[in-house]
Amino acid sequence: MNNLIILPLVIPLLAGIILIFFHKKIKAQKIISFIASVLFIIIASAVVQNVHLNGIQTLEIGSWRAPYGIIFVADMYSSLLVLTTSIIGLTSLLFAFSTTTAKRGNFYFYPSIQFLLAGVTGAFLTGDIFNLFVFFEVMLMSSYVLIVLGSEKAQLRESIKYILVNIISSALFVITVAYLYAVTGTLNMADLSEKIAATGQTGLLTVIAILFLIVFGLKGAIFPLFFWLPGSYEAPPAAIKALFGALLTKVGVYSITRVYTLLFYHDTGFTHEILAWLSALTIIFGAIGAIAYSNITKIIIYNIITAVGVILFGVAAFTEASVEGSIYYLIHDMIIKAALFFLVGTVIAITGTSHLRKFSGLIKPYPLLGWLFFVAAISLAGIPPLSGFIGKLKIVQGGFEAGQFTIAVIVLLSSLLVLYSVMKIFINGFWGEQRKEQELRKIPINRLLFPTVILIVLSIVYGLGVESISPYVSQAAEGLLNPSIYIEAVLKE
Protein backbone atom coordinates (compact mmCIF):
# COMPACT_ATOMS: atom_id res chain seq x y z
CA MET A 1 0.00 0.00 0.00
CA ASN A 2 1.33 3.33 -0.95
CA ASN A 3 -0.82 6.42 -0.95
CA LEU A 4 1.91 8.53 -2.52
CA ILE A 5 1.08 7.48 -6.06
CA ILE A 6 -2.48 8.78 -5.99
CA LEU A 7 -1.39 12.25 -4.87
CA PRO A 8 -0.50 13.41 -8.43
CA LEU A 9 -4.15 12.77 -9.24
CA VAL A 10 -5.64 14.17 -6.04
CA ILE A 11 -3.75 17.48 -6.04
CA PRO A 12 -5.09 18.88 -9.35
CA LEU A 13 -8.52 17.44 -8.59
CA LEU A 14 -8.73 19.16 -5.19
CA ALA A 15 -7.24 22.34 -6.60
CA GLY A 16 -9.88 22.30 -9.35
CA ILE A 17 -12.68 21.90 -6.81
CA ILE A 18 -11.35 24.69 -4.59
CA LEU A 19 -10.89 26.99 -7.61
CA ILE A 20 -14.57 26.69 -8.49
CA PHE A 21 -15.44 28.65 -5.35
CA PHE A 22 -13.09 31.52 -6.27
CA HIS A 23 -14.11 31.91 -9.88
CA LYS A 24 -14.59 35.69 -9.71
CA LYS A 25 -11.30 36.39 -7.93
CA ILE A 26 -8.64 36.05 -10.57
CA LYS A 27 -5.74 36.80 -8.24
CA ALA A 28 -6.76 34.08 -5.77
CA GLN A 29 -7.21 31.66 -8.67
CA LYS A 30 -3.71 32.38 -9.94
CA ILE A 31 -2.15 31.87 -6.52
CA ILE A 32 -4.02 28.64 -5.78
CA SER A 33 -3.35 27.07 -9.15
CA PHE A 34 0.31 28.10 -9.00
CA ILE A 35 0.76 26.50 -5.56
CA ALA A 36 -1.07 23.36 -6.71
CA SER A 37 1.14 23.06 -9.79
CA VAL A 38 4.36 23.44 -7.81
CA LEU A 39 3.13 20.81 -5.34
CA PHE A 40 2.23 18.59 -8.29
CA ILE A 41 5.79 18.79 -9.62
CA ILE A 42 7.30 17.99 -6.22
CA ILE A 43 5.01 15.00 -5.67
CA ALA A 44 5.55 13.72 -9.21
CA SER A 45 9.34 13.82 -8.76
CA ALA A 46 8.95 12.01 -5.44
CA VAL A 47 6.93 9.31 -7.23
CA VAL A 48 9.61 8.95 -9.92
CA GLN A 49 12.33 8.60 -7.30
CA ASN A 50 10.26 6.15 -5.28
CA VAL A 51 9.57 3.95 -8.31
CA HIS A 52 13.24 4.12 -9.24
CA LEU A 53 14.37 2.90 -5.83
CA ASN A 54 11.60 0.47 -4.90
CA GLY A 55 10.23 -0.84 -8.20
CA ILE A 56 6.64 -0.57 -9.43
CA GLN A 57 4.28 0.98 -6.89
CA THR A 58 0.64 -0.08 -6.72
CA LEU A 59 -2.33 1.19 -4.78
CA GLU A 60 -5.47 -0.90 -4.39
CA ILE A 61 -8.33 1.55 -4.01
CA GLY A 62 -10.42 0.55 -0.99
CA SER A 63 -8.16 -2.43 -0.21
CA TRP A 64 -9.93 -4.72 -2.69
CA ARG A 65 -7.53 -7.29 -4.10
CA ALA A 66 -6.14 -6.61 -7.53
CA PRO A 67 -8.41 -8.10 -10.21
CA TYR A 68 -11.57 -7.20 -8.28
CA GLY A 69 -11.06 -3.59 -7.36
CA ILE A 70 -9.63 -0.60 -9.23
CA ILE A 71 -5.89 -0.40 -8.94
CA PHE A 72 -3.46 2.43 -9.57
CA VAL A 73 -0.06 1.44 -10.88
CA ALA A 74 2.97 3.71 -11.11
CA ASP A 75 5.67 2.06 -13.15
CA MET A 76 8.61 4.06 -14.44
CA TYR A 77 7.00 4.79 -17.82
CA SER A 78 3.85 6.31 -16.38
CA SER A 79 5.59 8.16 -13.55
CA LEU A 80 8.04 9.80 -15.97
CA LEU A 81 5.07 10.93 -18.05
CA VAL A 82 3.30 12.25 -14.95
CA LEU A 83 6.39 14.28 -14.08
CA THR A 84 6.53 15.71 -17.60
CA THR A 85 2.80 16.48 -17.41
CA SER A 86 3.30 18.40 -14.17
CA ILE A 87 6.05 20.51 -15.74
CA ILE A 88 3.92 21.26 -18.80
CA GLY A 89 1.05 22.12 -16.45
CA LEU A 90 3.08 24.69 -14.53
CA THR A 91 4.59 26.37 -17.59
CA SER A 92 1.22 26.52 -19.36
CA LEU A 93 -0.26 28.15 -16.28
CA LEU A 94 2.56 30.72 -16.20
CA PHE A 95 1.91 31.47 -19.86
CA ALA A 96 -1.83 31.64 -19.24
CA PHE A 97 -1.38 34.08 -16.33
CA SER A 98 -0.05 36.76 -18.65
CA THR A 99 -2.18 36.01 -21.72
CA THR A 100 -5.63 35.15 -20.37
CA THR A 101 -8.10 37.97 -20.32
CA ALA A 102 -10.64 38.45 -17.53
CA LYS A 103 -13.28 37.44 -20.06
CA ARG A 104 -11.91 33.90 -19.99
CA GLY A 105 -10.34 33.84 -16.52
CA ASN A 106 -13.65 34.57 -14.80
CA PHE A 107 -15.40 31.62 -16.33
CA TYR A 108 -13.78 28.56 -14.77
CA PHE A 109 -10.69 28.68 -16.99
CA TYR A 110 -8.23 27.68 -14.23
CA PRO A 111 -10.43 24.93 -12.73
CA SER A 112 -10.75 23.38 -16.19
CA ILE A 113 -6.97 23.32 -16.58
CA GLN A 114 -6.64 21.52 -13.23
CA PHE A 115 -9.31 18.99 -14.22
CA LEU A 116 -7.54 18.42 -17.52
CA LEU A 117 -4.30 17.71 -15.65
CA ALA A 118 -6.19 15.36 -13.31
CA GLY A 119 -7.63 13.46 -16.28
CA VAL A 120 -4.26 13.11 -17.99
CA THR A 121 -2.53 11.97 -14.80
CA GLY A 122 -5.29 9.50 -14.03
CA ALA A 123 -5.04 8.04 -17.53
CA PHE A 124 -1.29 7.54 -17.05
CA LEU A 125 -1.61 5.94 -13.62
CA THR A 126 -4.64 3.67 -13.85
CA GLY A 127 -4.36 -0.10 -14.08
CA ASP A 128 -7.90 -0.76 -15.20
CA ILE A 129 -9.15 -0.48 -18.75
CA PHE A 130 -12.59 0.93 -17.95
CA ASN A 131 -11.09 3.36 -15.48
CA LEU A 132 -8.86 4.48 -18.35
CA PHE A 133 -12.03 5.25 -20.31
CA VAL A 134 -13.38 7.32 -17.42
CA PHE A 135 -10.15 9.33 -17.17
CA PHE A 136 -10.21 9.85 -20.93
CA GLU A 137 -13.65 11.38 -20.48
CA VAL A 138 -12.46 13.59 -17.59
CA MET A 139 -9.65 14.83 -19.81
CA LEU A 140 -11.88 15.27 -22.88
CA MET A 141 -14.67 17.07 -21.02
CA SER A 142 -12.20 19.64 -19.70
CA SER A 143 -10.70 19.95 -23.16
CA TYR A 144 -14.17 20.61 -24.64
CA VAL A 145 -14.61 23.46 -22.18
CA LEU A 146 -11.14 24.86 -22.81
CA ILE A 147 -11.41 24.67 -26.60
CA VAL A 148 -14.70 26.59 -26.72
CA LEU A 149 -14.22 29.01 -23.79
CA GLY A 150 -14.47 32.56 -25.11
CA SER A 151 -16.82 31.42 -27.92
CA GLU A 152 -15.22 33.13 -30.87
CA LYS A 153 -16.70 32.01 -34.17
CA ALA A 154 -13.77 29.78 -35.12
CA GLN A 155 -13.81 28.16 -31.68
CA LEU A 156 -17.52 27.31 -31.92
CA ARG A 157 -17.07 25.92 -35.41
CA GLU A 158 -14.07 23.77 -34.61
CA SER A 159 -15.25 22.54 -31.21
CA ILE A 160 -18.33 21.01 -32.83
CA LYS A 161 -16.07 18.82 -34.96
CA TYR A 162 -13.71 18.08 -32.08
CA ILE A 163 -16.54 16.96 -29.80
CA LEU A 164 -18.19 14.88 -32.51
CA VAL A 165 -14.98 12.97 -33.28
CA ASN A 166 -14.35 12.34 -29.61
CA ILE A 167 -17.92 11.18 -28.94
CA ILE A 168 -17.53 8.64 -31.73
CA SER A 169 -14.16 7.45 -30.49
CA SER A 170 -15.49 7.20 -26.91
CA ALA A 171 -18.39 5.07 -28.11
CA LEU A 172 -15.89 2.88 -29.96
CA PHE A 173 -13.84 2.62 -26.76
CA VAL A 174 -16.94 1.41 -24.85
CA ILE A 175 -17.72 -1.10 -27.60
CA THR A 176 -14.16 -2.42 -27.60
CA VAL A 177 -14.16 -2.79 -23.82
CA ALA A 178 -17.44 -4.69 -24.11
CA TYR A 179 -15.92 -7.12 -26.62
CA LEU A 180 -12.82 -7.55 -24.50
CA TYR A 181 -14.95 -8.23 -21.44
CA ALA A 182 -16.96 -10.83 -23.34
CA VAL A 183 -13.80 -12.66 -24.40
CA THR A 184 -11.76 -12.47 -21.18
CA GLY A 185 -14.21 -11.64 -18.38
CA THR A 186 -11.96 -9.09 -16.68
CA LEU A 187 -11.05 -5.40 -16.89
CA ASN A 188 -7.84 -5.23 -14.86
CA MET A 189 -4.88 -4.79 -17.24
CA ALA A 190 -2.52 -7.19 -15.47
CA ASP A 191 -5.23 -9.83 -15.19
CA LEU A 192 -6.18 -9.27 -18.84
CA SER A 193 -2.57 -9.75 -19.86
CA GLU A 194 -2.36 -13.01 -17.94
CA LYS A 195 -5.64 -14.32 -19.37
CA ILE A 196 -4.65 -13.40 -22.93
CA ALA A 197 -1.26 -15.09 -22.46
CA ALA A 198 -2.95 -18.21 -21.05
CA THR A 199 -5.45 -18.69 -23.89
CA GLY A 200 -3.12 -17.46 -26.61
CA GLN A 201 -4.00 -14.45 -28.73
CA THR A 202 -6.80 -15.82 -30.87
CA GLY A 203 -8.15 -14.13 -33.98
CA LEU A 204 -10.87 -12.50 -31.91
CA LEU A 205 -8.31 -10.87 -29.62
CA THR A 206 -6.31 -9.65 -32.59
CA VAL A 207 -9.45 -7.96 -33.90
CA ILE A 208 -9.90 -6.31 -30.50
CA ALA A 209 -6.27 -5.20 -30.63
CA ILE A 210 -6.91 -3.47 -33.96
CA LEU A 211 -10.08 -1.88 -32.55
CA PHE A 212 -7.99 -0.46 -29.71
CA LEU A 213 -5.56 0.87 -32.29
CA ILE A 214 -8.46 2.67 -34.01
CA VAL A 215 -9.81 4.07 -30.71
CA PHE A 216 -6.48 5.34 -29.40
CA GLY A 217 -5.40 6.32 -32.89
CA LEU A 218 -8.37 8.70 -33.03
CA LYS A 219 -7.25 10.25 -29.73
CA GLY A 220 -3.58 10.25 -30.68
CA ALA A 221 -3.95 11.37 -34.30
CA ILE A 222 -2.29 8.63 -36.33
CA PHE A 223 -2.82 8.18 -40.06
CA PRO A 224 -5.63 8.00 -41.29
CA LEU A 225 -7.37 9.25 -38.15
CA PHE A 226 -5.64 12.63 -37.74
CA PHE A 227 -8.08 14.62 -39.91
CA TRP A 228 -9.73 16.37 -36.95
CA LEU A 229 -6.53 17.66 -35.38
CA PRO A 230 -5.26 20.52 -37.60
CA GLY A 231 -8.52 22.47 -37.45
CA SER A 232 -9.32 21.82 -33.80
CA TYR A 233 -5.91 22.73 -32.41
CA GLU A 234 -5.86 26.04 -34.21
CA ALA A 235 -8.97 27.36 -32.47
CA PRO A 236 -8.07 27.84 -28.77
CA PRO A 237 -5.62 30.43 -27.34
CA ALA A 238 -1.88 29.70 -27.19
CA ALA A 239 -1.64 28.42 -23.60
CA ILE A 240 -4.39 25.91 -24.30
CA LYS A 241 -2.81 24.94 -27.61
CA ALA A 242 0.38 24.11 -25.72
CA LEU A 243 -1.49 21.99 -23.17
CA PHE A 244 -3.36 20.14 -25.91
CA GLY A 245 -0.36 19.70 -28.20
CA ALA A 246 1.86 18.45 -25.40
CA LEU A 247 -0.57 16.27 -23.48
CA LEU A 248 -3.74 15.12 -25.27
CA THR A 249 -2.34 13.23 -28.23
CA LYS A 250 0.39 11.80 -26.00
CA VAL A 251 -2.25 10.11 -23.83
CA GLY A 252 -3.40 8.27 -26.95
CA VAL A 253 0.21 7.37 -27.72
CA TYR A 254 0.69 6.17 -24.13
CA SER A 255 -2.44 4.01 -24.34
CA ILE A 256 -1.36 2.40 -27.61
CA THR A 257 2.04 1.69 -26.08
CA ARG A 258 0.51 0.22 -22.93
CA VAL A 259 -2.00 -1.94 -24.78
CA TYR A 260 0.49 -3.19 -27.38
CA THR A 261 3.25 -3.99 -24.87
CA LEU A 262 1.19 -5.31 -21.97
CA LEU A 263 -1.81 -7.04 -23.56
CA PHE A 264 -1.42 -7.81 -27.25
CA TYR A 265 2.21 -8.78 -27.78
CA HIS A 266 1.64 -12.37 -28.97
CA ASP A 267 0.98 -11.76 -32.66
CA THR A 268 3.49 -9.00 -33.38
CA GLY A 269 3.91 -10.12 -36.99
CA PHE A 270 0.40 -8.83 -37.67
CA THR A 271 -0.47 -6.11 -35.15
CA HIS A 272 2.93 -4.46 -34.78
CA GLU A 273 3.53 -4.59 -38.52
CA ILE A 274 0.31 -2.67 -39.08
CA LEU A 275 1.32 -0.20 -36.37
CA ALA A 276 4.75 0.24 -37.98
CA TRP A 277 3.32 1.06 -41.41
CA LEU A 278 0.62 3.32 -40.00
CA SER A 279 3.29 5.25 -38.11
CA ALA A 280 5.35 5.52 -41.28
CA LEU A 281 2.35 6.99 -43.11
CA THR A 282 1.68 9.28 -40.11
CA ILE A 283 5.25 10.58 -40.36
CA ILE A 284 4.93 11.16 -44.11
CA PHE A 285 1.58 12.95 -43.95
CA GLY A 286 2.64 15.03 -40.96
CA ALA A 287 5.79 16.11 -42.79
CA ILE A 288 3.84 16.95 -45.94
CA GLY A 289 1.48 19.11 -43.91
CA ALA A 290 4.34 20.83 -42.12
CA ILE A 291 6.09 21.86 -45.32
CA ALA A 292 2.89 22.74 -47.18
CA TYR A 293 1.67 25.55 -44.92
CA SER A 294 3.01 29.01 -44.33
CA ASN A 295 0.73 29.47 -41.35
CA ILE A 296 3.08 29.16 -38.38
CA THR A 297 0.51 27.52 -36.07
CA LYS A 298 -0.37 24.93 -38.69
CA ILE A 299 3.32 24.07 -39.17
CA ILE A 300 3.73 23.25 -35.48
CA ILE A 301 0.44 21.33 -35.45
CA TYR A 302 1.54 19.08 -38.31
CA ASN A 303 4.83 18.51 -36.48
CA ILE A 304 2.78 16.98 -33.63
CA ILE A 305 1.48 14.40 -36.09
CA THR A 306 4.99 13.59 -37.36
CA ALA A 307 6.25 13.12 -33.80
CA VAL A 308 3.36 10.78 -32.94
CA GLY A 309 4.40 8.63 -35.90
CA VAL A 310 8.05 8.57 -34.81
CA ILE A 311 7.19 7.58 -31.22
CA LEU A 312 4.82 4.83 -32.33
CA PHE A 313 7.35 3.42 -34.77
CA GLY A 314 9.68 2.98 -31.79
CA VAL A 315 6.97 0.95 -30.07
CA ALA A 316 6.13 -1.05 -33.19
CA ALA A 317 9.72 -2.11 -33.85
CA PHE A 318 9.66 -3.55 -30.30
CA THR A 319 13.37 -3.94 -29.63
CA GLU A 320 15.10 -2.73 -26.49
CA ALA A 321 16.75 0.20 -28.27
CA SER A 322 13.63 1.34 -30.10
CA VAL A 323 11.38 1.24 -27.03
CA GLU A 324 13.96 3.21 -25.05
CA GLY A 325 14.19 5.65 -27.94
CA SER A 326 10.46 6.14 -28.08
CA ILE A 327 10.38 6.92 -24.34
CA TYR A 328 13.20 9.47 -24.75
CA TYR A 329 11.44 10.97 -27.74
CA LEU A 330 8.02 11.08 -26.07
CA ILE A 331 9.28 13.11 -23.11
CA HIS A 332 11.37 15.36 -25.36
CA ASP A 333 8.44 15.95 -27.65
CA MET A 334 6.05 16.91 -24.86
CA ILE A 335 8.51 19.55 -23.62
CA ILE A 336 9.51 20.95 -26.98
CA LYS A 337 5.97 21.08 -28.43
CA ALA A 338 4.78 23.12 -25.47
CA ALA A 339 7.78 25.45 -25.93
CA LEU A 340 7.08 25.83 -29.65
CA PHE A 341 3.42 26.67 -29.08
CA PHE A 342 4.46 29.30 -26.52
CA LEU A 343 6.95 30.79 -29.00
CA VAL A 344 4.45 30.81 -31.83
CA GLY A 345 1.87 32.31 -29.49
CA THR A 346 4.33 35.06 -28.57
CA VAL A 347 5.13 35.77 -32.22
CA ILE A 348 1.42 36.04 -33.03
CA ALA A 349 0.92 38.32 -30.02
CA ILE A 350 3.64 40.62 -31.39
CA THR A 351 2.82 40.61 -35.09
CA GLY A 352 -0.93 40.05 -34.89
CA THR A 353 -0.81 37.49 -37.69
CA SER A 354 0.08 33.85 -38.06
CA HIS A 355 0.87 34.28 -41.73
CA LEU A 356 4.54 33.83 -42.55
CA ARG A 357 4.54 36.22 -45.54
CA LYS A 358 3.19 39.13 -43.51
CA PHE A 359 6.13 39.67 -41.18
CA SER A 360 9.91 39.40 -41.15
CA GLY A 361 12.97 40.77 -39.38
CA LEU A 362 11.91 39.96 -35.85
CA ILE A 363 15.44 39.08 -34.71
CA LYS A 364 16.50 42.72 -34.35
CA PRO A 365 13.79 43.94 -31.97
CA TYR A 366 13.40 40.56 -30.23
CA PRO A 367 16.77 38.75 -30.17
CA LEU A 368 15.97 36.48 -27.20
CA LEU A 369 12.73 35.31 -28.81
CA GLY A 370 14.58 34.59 -32.04
CA TRP A 371 17.38 32.54 -30.51
CA LEU A 372 14.98 30.63 -28.27
CA PHE A 373 13.04 29.72 -31.38
CA PHE A 374 16.25 28.67 -33.12
CA VAL A 375 17.24 26.35 -30.26
CA ALA A 376 13.73 24.88 -30.10
CA ALA A 377 13.76 24.33 -33.86
CA ILE A 378 17.07 22.46 -34.03
CA SER A 379 16.13 20.51 -30.92
CA LEU A 380 12.90 19.45 -32.63
CA ALA A 381 14.85 18.22 -35.65
CA GLY A 382 17.26 16.27 -33.43
CA ILE A 383 20.62 18.01 -33.72
CA PRO A 384 23.11 16.12 -31.45
CA PRO A 385 23.71 18.12 -28.30
CA LEU A 386 20.00 18.75 -27.85
CA SER A 387 17.19 16.61 -26.53
CA GLY A 388 15.66 15.30 -29.76
CA PHE A 389 18.80 13.48 -30.82
CA ILE A 390 19.08 10.49 -28.48
CA GLY A 391 15.45 9.42 -28.97
CA LYS A 392 15.60 9.43 -32.73
CA LEU A 393 19.02 7.75 -32.72
CA LYS A 394 17.74 4.86 -30.62
CA ILE A 395 14.53 4.56 -32.62
CA VAL A 396 16.45 4.35 -35.90
CA GLN A 397 18.94 1.92 -34.38
CA GLY A 398 16.09 -0.26 -33.07
CA GLY A 399 14.36 -0.03 -36.44
CA PHE A 400 17.46 -1.37 -38.19
CA GLU A 401 17.82 -4.14 -35.59
CA ALA A 402 14.21 -5.16 -36.20
CA GLY A 403 14.82 -5.24 -39.96
CA GLN A 404 12.46 -2.32 -40.68
CA PHE A 405 14.94 -0.59 -42.99
CA THR A 406 12.44 1.36 -45.09
CA ILE A 407 10.63 2.92 -42.16
CA ALA A 408 13.86 3.69 -40.29
CA VAL A 409 15.05 5.60 -43.35
CA ILE A 410 11.69 7.40 -43.49
CA VAL A 411 12.24 8.49 -39.86
CA LEU A 412 15.67 9.84 -40.79
CA LEU A 413 14.41 11.68 -43.86
CA SER A 414 11.47 13.10 -41.93
CA SER A 415 13.95 14.92 -39.67
CA LEU A 416 15.11 16.89 -42.71
CA LEU A 417 11.57 17.93 -43.59
CA VAL A 418 10.83 18.82 -39.96
CA LEU A 419 13.97 20.93 -39.86
CA TYR A 420 13.00 22.60 -43.14
CA SER A 421 9.50 23.39 -41.88
CA VAL A 422 10.64 25.12 -38.67
CA MET A 423 13.65 26.80 -40.28
CA LYS A 424 11.21 28.24 -42.80
CA ILE A 425 9.61 30.08 -39.88
CA PHE A 426 13.00 31.19 -38.57
CA ILE A 427 14.41 32.40 -41.87
CA ASN A 428 11.27 34.07 -43.20
CA GLY A 429 9.99 35.44 -39.93
CA PHE A 430 13.13 36.41 -38.03
CA TRP A 431 15.68 37.24 -40.72
CA GLY A 432 15.45 39.89 -43.35
CA GLU A 433 14.37 43.51 -43.23
CA GLN A 434 11.37 44.64 -41.28
CA ARG A 435 8.42 45.28 -43.52
CA LYS A 436 7.11 48.79 -43.79
CA GLU A 437 3.46 47.91 -43.51
CA GLN A 438 3.90 45.68 -40.48
CA GLU A 439 3.21 47.10 -37.07
CA LEU A 440 4.80 45.41 -34.09
CA ARG A 441 2.73 45.70 -30.96
CA LYS A 442 4.54 46.99 -27.94
CA ILE A 443 3.82 44.31 -25.37
CA PRO A 444 5.79 43.25 -22.27
CA ILE A 445 7.34 40.18 -23.83
CA ASN A 446 9.52 39.05 -20.93
CA ARG A 447 6.68 37.53 -18.97
CA LEU A 448 5.60 35.60 -22.06
CA LEU A 449 9.12 34.30 -22.62
CA PHE A 450 9.70 33.17 -19.03
CA PRO A 451 7.85 29.79 -19.28
CA THR A 452 9.49 29.19 -22.66
CA VAL A 453 12.93 29.79 -21.16
CA ILE A 454 12.16 27.20 -18.45
CA LEU A 455 11.20 24.62 -21.06
CA ILE A 456 14.13 25.34 -23.39
CA VAL A 457 16.63 25.15 -20.51
CA LEU A 458 14.99 21.89 -19.45
CA SER A 459 15.28 20.56 -22.97
CA ILE A 460 18.98 21.49 -23.15
CA VAL A 461 19.63 19.88 -19.76
CA TYR A 462 17.70 16.81 -20.93
CA GLY A 463 19.88 16.61 -24.02
CA LEU A 464 23.19 17.12 -22.23
CA GLY A 465 22.31 15.00 -19.19
CA VAL A 466 21.24 11.85 -20.99
CA GLU A 467 23.75 9.88 -18.90
CA SER A 468 21.94 10.67 -15.66
CA ILE A 469 18.46 10.14 -17.14
CA SER A 470 19.25 6.84 -18.85
CA PRO A 471 18.84 4.60 -15.74
CA TYR A 472 15.27 5.85 -15.41
CA VAL A 473 14.49 5.39 -19.09
CA SER A 474 16.01 1.91 -19.29
CA GLN A 475 13.99 0.93 -16.23
CA ALA A 476 10.86 2.15 -18.01
CA ALA A 477 11.79 0.29 -21.20
CA GLU A 478 12.50 -2.89 -19.23
CA GLY A 479 9.01 -2.67 -17.73
CA LEU A 480 7.47 -2.31 -21.18
CA LEU A 481 9.46 -5.18 -22.70
CA ASN A 482 8.77 -7.63 -19.84
CA PRO A 483 5.05 -7.57 -19.00
CA SER A 484 5.72 -10.13 -16.26
CA ILE A 485 7.28 -7.42 -14.08
CA TYR A 486 4.06 -5.41 -14.27
CA ILE A 487 1.83 -8.43 -13.71
CA GLU A 488 3.80 -9.60 -10.69
CA ALA A 489 3.73 -6.17 -9.11
CA VAL A 490 -0.04 -5.92 -9.52
CA LEU A 491 -1.24 -9.44 -8.84
CA LYS A 492 1.46 -10.45 -6.27
CA GLU A 493 0.19 -13.93 -5.44
Binding site: V134, Y144, L156, I163, L164, I167, I168, A178, A182
Partner: protein
Protein backbone atom coordinates in the same frame (compact mmCIF):
# COMPACT_ATOMS: atom_id res chain seq x y z
CA UNK B 1 -31.34 -13.92 -27.35
CA UNK B 2 -27.78 -12.62 -27.77
CA UNK B 3 -28.12 -12.94 -31.55
CA UNK B 4 -31.31 -10.89 -31.58
CA UNK B 5 -29.71 -8.23 -29.40
CA UNK B 6 -26.64 -8.13 -31.62
CA UNK B 7 -28.82 -7.57 -34.68
CA UNK B 8 -30.66 -4.78 -32.86
CA UNK B 9 -27.36 -3.16 -31.84
CA UNK B 10 -26.19 -3.46 -35.45
CA UNK B 11 -29.30 -1.66 -36.66
CA UNK B 12 -28.78 1.08 -34.06
CA UNK B 13 -25.18 1.55 -35.22
CA UNK B 14 -26.30 1.65 -38.83
CA UNK B 15 -28.89 4.34 -38.12
CA UNK B 16 -26.35 6.27 -36.02
CA UNK B 17 -23.72 6.25 -38.78
CA UNK B 18 -26.31 7.30 -41.36
CA UNK B 19 -27.48 10.20 -39.20
CA UNK B 20 -23.97 11.32 -38.33
CA UNK B 21 -23.05 11.53 -42.01
CA UNK B 22 -25.88 13.98 -42.73
CA UNK B 23 -25.55 17.75 -43.05
CA UNK B 24 -27.83 19.00 -40.32
CA UNK B 25 -26.22 19.37 -36.89
CA UNK B 26 -29.33 18.23 -35.02
CA UNK B 27 -29.43 14.97 -36.97
CA UNK B 28 -25.80 14.42 -36.05
CA UNK B 29 -26.57 14.85 -32.35
CA UNK B 30 -29.48 12.41 -32.69
CA UNK B 31 -26.99 10.03 -34.29
CA UNK B 32 -24.63 10.29 -31.32
CA UNK B 33 -27.59 9.49 -29.06
CA UNK B 34 -28.36 6.34 -31.03
CA UNK B 35 -24.65 5.44 -31.06
CA UNK B 36 -24.44 5.55 -27.29
CA UNK B 37 -27.68 3.54 -26.97
CA UNK B 38 -26.13 0.90 -29.19
CA UNK B 39 -22.88 0.88 -27.21
CA UNK B 40 -24.72 0.51 -23.89
CA UNK B 41 -26.91 -2.31 -25.17
CA UNK B 42 -23.76 -3.96 -26.49
CA UNK B 43 -22.12 -3.94 -23.06
CA UNK B 44 -25.25 -5.55 -21.60
CA UNK B 45 -25.30 -8.18 -24.34
CA UNK B 46 -21.59 -8.94 -24.17
CA UNK B 47 -21.84 -9.43 -20.40
CA UNK B 48 -24.12 -12.36 -21.16
CA UNK B 49 -27.92 -12.51 -21.07
CA UNK B 50 -28.27 -15.60 -18.92
CA UNK B 51 -31.38 -15.66 -16.76
CA UNK B 52 -30.89 -14.99 -13.08
CA UNK B 53 -32.14 -12.79 -10.31
CA UNK B 54 -31.52 -9.05 -10.24
CA UNK B 55 -28.18 -8.46 -8.52
CA UNK B 56 -29.64 -7.79 -5.08
CA UNK B 57 -28.42 -10.04 -2.27
CA UNK B 58 -31.86 -9.82 -0.61
CA UNK B 59 -33.24 -11.95 -3.46
CA UNK B 60 -31.57 -15.11 -2.04
CA UNK B 61 -31.49 -16.60 -5.55
CA UNK B 62 -29.24 -19.40 -6.79
CA UNK B 63 -28.01 -17.41 -9.78
CA UNK B 64 -27.66 -13.69 -10.26
CA UNK B 65 -27.10 -11.73 -13.43
CA UNK B 66 -23.60 -10.26 -13.88
CA UNK B 67 -23.50 -6.96 -11.92
CA UNK B 68 -20.30 -5.59 -13.50
CA UNK B 69 -21.68 -4.67 -16.97
CA UNK B 70 -24.59 -2.91 -15.31
CA UNK B 71 -22.20 -0.74 -13.32
CA UNK B 72 -20.19 -0.03 -16.48
CA UNK B 73 -23.35 0.95 -18.36
CA UNK B 74 -24.47 3.25 -15.56
CA UNK B 75 -21.10 5.02 -15.70
CA UNK B 76 -21.17 5.24 -19.48
CA UNK B 77 -24.75 6.57 -19.45
CA UNK B 78 -24.04 9.49 -17.15
CA UNK B 79 -20.87 10.36 -19.06
CA UNK B 80 -22.66 10.37 -22.41
CA UNK B 81 -25.49 12.33 -20.79
CA UNK B 82 -23.07 15.04 -19.71
CA UNK B 83 -21.36 15.15 -23.09
CA UNK B 84 -24.67 15.22 -24.98
CA UNK B 85 -26.04 18.12 -22.94
CA UNK B 86 -22.80 20.04 -23.53
CA UNK B 87 -23.01 19.27 -27.24
CA UNK B 88 -26.66 20.39 -27.45
CA UNK B 89 -25.88 23.72 -25.76
CA UNK B 90 -22.86 24.11 -28.02
CA UNK B 91 -25.05 23.53 -31.07
CA UNK B 92 -27.51 26.14 -29.76
CA UNK B 93 -24.69 28.67 -29.19
CA UNK B 94 -23.24 27.93 -32.61
CA UNK B 95 -26.65 28.51 -34.16
CA UNK B 96 -26.95 31.86 -32.35
CA UNK B 97 -23.51 33.04 -33.41
CA UNK B 98 -23.08 31.52 -36.83
CA UNK B 99 -26.75 31.46 -37.93
CA UNK B 100 -26.53 28.03 -39.53
CA UNK B 101 -26.82 24.36 -38.66
CA UNK B 102 -25.50 23.17 -42.03
CA UNK B 103 -22.20 21.33 -41.61
CA UNK B 104 -21.09 22.37 -45.10
CA UNK B 105 -21.27 26.02 -44.11
CA UNK B 106 -19.48 25.33 -40.83
CA UNK B 107 -16.40 24.27 -42.74
CA UNK B 108 -14.48 27.49 -42.24
CA UNK B 109 -12.18 29.16 -44.71
CA UNK B 110 -9.09 27.03 -45.02
CA UNK B 111 -6.62 28.87 -47.19
CA UNK B 112 -3.73 26.67 -48.22
CA UNK B 113 -0.95 29.20 -48.30
Amino acid sequence: MEVLMSILVGILFMAAVYLMLSRSLLRIILGTGLLSHGAHLLILTMGGLKTGAAPLLGEHAKFYTDPLPQALILTAIVISFGVTSFFLVLAYRAYQELRTDDMDQLRGKDHYE
